[in-house]
Every structure is written in C-alpha cells, then in structure tokens.
Symmetry: C2
Subunit: 288 residues, 2 copies
C-alpha cells in the first residue's frame, strides 16, 4: 500500500493494481483483497484481483509454497499486462526483503544467480510477455516504510503470515537477523544489503557476457569452453543445461560436466537427472 | 602440520617450512614454533621461524590484529621466498576457514572482492616477489583433517586462541555457524562453501576483464566508463581509486564517483578521504 501511495503521489497515472489472493490464510486473505479494492477505488485506479489455490498448485507441481506462489504471481501479472499492453511492473520489495532473500539463498546454496534475485530494475521474460520489473523501495527499510505509512495515513493491513515462525523466511527475519546483528554489529543488515546490490549488478554483467554465446544449441564446442575461465565455463554450462530442461542443475552436476573438458579424463560421459547424460564426442559436448 | 605431512607424503621435496611467531600467546606461541622446528627437522626440511610483535604493528599502523598479522605473514613469506627463488607457497586454509571468512566479510560488507579472498590457486603480488598461492586443503573440512591427523599420528598442537570467544572469527565458528545450522539445516556449511567457491572464480573473471583497462592512469575517460555496465564501472573505479592509494574505498565513495558520470549531474566533484577529491573535467575524471 505504501508503494501504491508513493506511485500516485509521484504522479503515475494509468496504473493497474494487481493482487493475487493466494488463499493461504482464509478470511484474512479475503480481507487483504478487499483492502486492495478499496484503496484502488479511492485513487480511481483499475484493480485486478486474481484467486489461486497455491497449496494445490504446489502439491501438483511438487514445488515449495513460496516457489509456486511466485510462479502464479508472475503468470497473473503477465495475463493482466498483456491485453493492456503494460510493459512495466512495480513490485513492493524493500531492503529487508532483499537481505532476507539473500540469506535464504546463501543458506540454501543457490549460487551467485540466486544471491542476486532482486534488482532495482530487471527484465522478466514470460512465455509471451516481457515485463520490465521495477522495485522502487529496494533501498528503503521496513522501518522507513512504516514511518511513511504513519505520516501519510496510508491504509494497510498487517500480513498475519509474517509472524508465524514456521517458514524459513520468517525465522530468518524474526530470529536469525536479530541474532546476527548482536553477534556482528548493527551495520550487519546494511552490509549485507550492499553486498547483495553489488552482486546483482555483477550477475547482470555475466548475463551480458553470455549473450553472444550459443547456449541454446544441442552441442557445445569443447575447445571454446576450454578457453574460458572457470567462472564463464560454469555459467555457460548452467545456462546450456537449463535451456535443455535439465532439472536441479546444481554445483555438482556442473563440476562433473566440466570434468569432461579435460582431455585426459578417462570418462567421456556423465549422468544427469531424469535418465539423461552429457557425452563428449569429436570435440563436442552433447546432451543425450 | 596436516598439510606438511600431506605434502611430504605426496612426494614434495625442497620444501621450506615457514612459521611466523605472532607473540600473541606468550609461551604457547613459543611452543608452537618449537613444534614446527621439530617436525621440520624430522622430515629433513629447512625451517624458517620469524618473530614479530603483531600487537605493536597493529597499533602503529592502526590495523586490526588480524589484518596486521596477515600483512606480516605475507611479508615474511616473501622475504623467505625471494633469496631461495621459491615461486609457490602452500597455505593450510581448509573449508571451515573459507566459510568463516566468507561470513565475516559478508557481515562486514566487504563486497564481492572480500567474499572471494580465499582461492585454491591465486597469485599474490608483493613489492618485489610474485608468489603462486596454493591451498590444497580448501575442499577439506576440519573434521576430515582431524581424522587424517589421528590416522597418520601427525604431531600437532591445539591452537589455544581458537577457543577464546573474543575475536569475531571465533564467535562465528563456535556460536554463529552452529546456530545457523540449527536454523537453516545441516547442509548450511556445504552450501556457503559452494557459493564462496563460485564467487571466487567469478571474481577472477572480473579481474581478467579489467586487465586491459588502464586503471593505473591519473585520469579515466568518462565516455568509456559510461559504456560499461554498472558492475564493471564499480570494479574499474574501485581499482582506480585503490591504485591511487585512497584509503577505505567503500560502496558509498564508489557510488558518489559513479554519480559524476551522469552528465546532467549538477556537481562535477566529490570528496574522498584524506582531503582528496575526484573531479570531472573535459570528459575525464581526475583524482586531485
């Protein structure tokens, strides 16, 4: 709600307010949606409310609740944006969200791509829509936003799920970060925020470096890979395997495939999940 | 001692064993040095024992004990290596050291350069010596090394300083990491280790990308900087300011200097520590 207030104050018109009811908290979820409708109407904006059974979706697709909810949100945004030819979406993630996400991905070993999942400006490609994603609040802390909300008397509802300790994110927010601030000093959140911002730009640099490589092809030339540094080899293989729909491409898989680049390696084949494998033959790598 | 044993078993000859007595723990420090002499003699190796007053050095140069000790160690290594034309140095850092260092640098906001300060292979340039630094144990955990030490009956001494909770590193090892393992699961250390290994290679990629840029010059061409992505701009400015001996080049300084690249910016000057500043003039940046 703070973001919406800020955008309207900043003079943005023709906004479409999107809210996807995840149905995770029963009546509380419905009340959230009502509030969005009310505030949107007050500003004279179009409001799009979607409803999704996130739990069912997560179970069906074998995803975590958080991953399923994220996929559903982006699908809903795209579906809302396309007929209206919207090209830009504003998301309300703030600095505390960035720090929490950074730590979660670090603790889960998501690698550098995972560490930089939130950027101030980024492109999100979906099947048939390309959205520019903008997070104007990424440099503002929750306390700053709370102050803004009080000063401008912005209507809001406390997100009830924020206080449950179950999900890892809430444990990180309510227990781990306060603990780490005690152990390592008050500057901790600011320090992690800076690191996350730096890594996000470096991630972009890597993506740009890969743009002219043909990672969508069925084969990769070993000689070309050998000339790259380790970092770019890993990136190239990661993108190549993902483009071929290999599930759970982690550090171990990439290191095994990198092992095939060594011409003295005895094995010229390494297994992938789902009964597939990578083979080196005639100076090329193939997914079979 | 485990590293030394391993190197000798692996067939390395002509090793020079270097030990710098930091004099931080009185008689315990002296006993450490004695043990190194004894083990070195047993293997028939040359042993070089240095002595330094780390506390005095840290106070004089206004550095932390850890930073002063590190600088003194590398100076000692270089001084030992040069007359013997040694080109390679083996360091005993293990996987737990890597994870601890990663977290310390993250919590202190050291940026991506700090996050990848330990690599399996790297080059360390000192005033007049270039040493190849190799860390053969970086993939081994403390528990693996303990097991190796028991199996091979390697002589060793427990480092008494490891159990004091004072220094941040010990707090991280004895309290923070066990706490985080409880909060985020047993895979935590392995996950952070992987991330650190990936970032270390990406760091190297960035250094390679910067190699052909003239960051040692007194001026930088604004046009060239504008063409770069944000990540490379930050790296270039960081290296340029450090080459000009600017102290404490942090995120804020770099962002202020980056602000000068914007031709619509009203200011063409920003202050640096130590009464210096960067000025934009005639399409170039100067340190004055």
């Amino acid at each position: 709600m703070a973001l919406l207030h800020w955008l309207v104050q900043a003079g943005y018109r023709n906004l479409v307010v999107c809210h996807l009811n995840h149905q995770l908290r029963g009546r509380s979820s419905t009340a959230d949606a009502r509030l969005v409708e009310k505030v949107g109407a007050r500003y004279g904006l179009i409001v799009e409310i979607g409803v999704i059974d996130v739990k069912g979706l997560a179970a069906k697709r074998k995803l975590s609740i958080e991953t399923a909810a994220r996929a559903a949100r982006y699908a809903f945004f795209a579906q809302t944006a396309k007929p209206r030819r919207c090209r830009t979406i504003f998301l309300a993630h703030h600095a505390d969200d960035l720090v929490e996400t950074f730590l979660i991905n670090l603790f889960r070993g998501a690698g550098s791509t995972g560490l930089s999942s939130m950027r101030e400006k980024s492109l999100h490609r979906l099947t048939n829509v390309e959205l520019q994603v903008i997070r104007p609040l990424l440099g503002s802390w929750q306390t700053d936003i709370d102050r803004y909300v009080r000063q401008h008397r912005v209507l809001f509802r406390d997100d009830a799920s924020n206080k449950q300790l179950g999900p890892l994110r809430n444990r990180i927010r309510l227990r781990v970060i306060p603990y780490l601030e005690k152990a390592a000093g008050k500057g901790l959140r600011q320090n992690i925020w800076r690191t996350a911002m730096i890594l996000a730009e470096e991630e972009q640099f890597f993506r740009d470096s890969l743009r002219h490589m043909n990672v969508d092809s069925v084969e990769l030339v070993v000689k070309g890979l050998r000339k790259m540094g380790v970092a770019l080899q890993r990136r190239t293989l990661h993108t190549w395997l993902r483009a071929a729909d290999i599930a759970n491409v982690g550090f171990d898989i990439i290191e095994r495939v990198r092992g095939l680049l060594d011409s003295t390696a005895s094995a010229a084949k390494t297994n992938l999940p789902g009964d597939r494998h990578v083979r080196r033959r005639a100076g090329k790598l193939f997914i079979e």
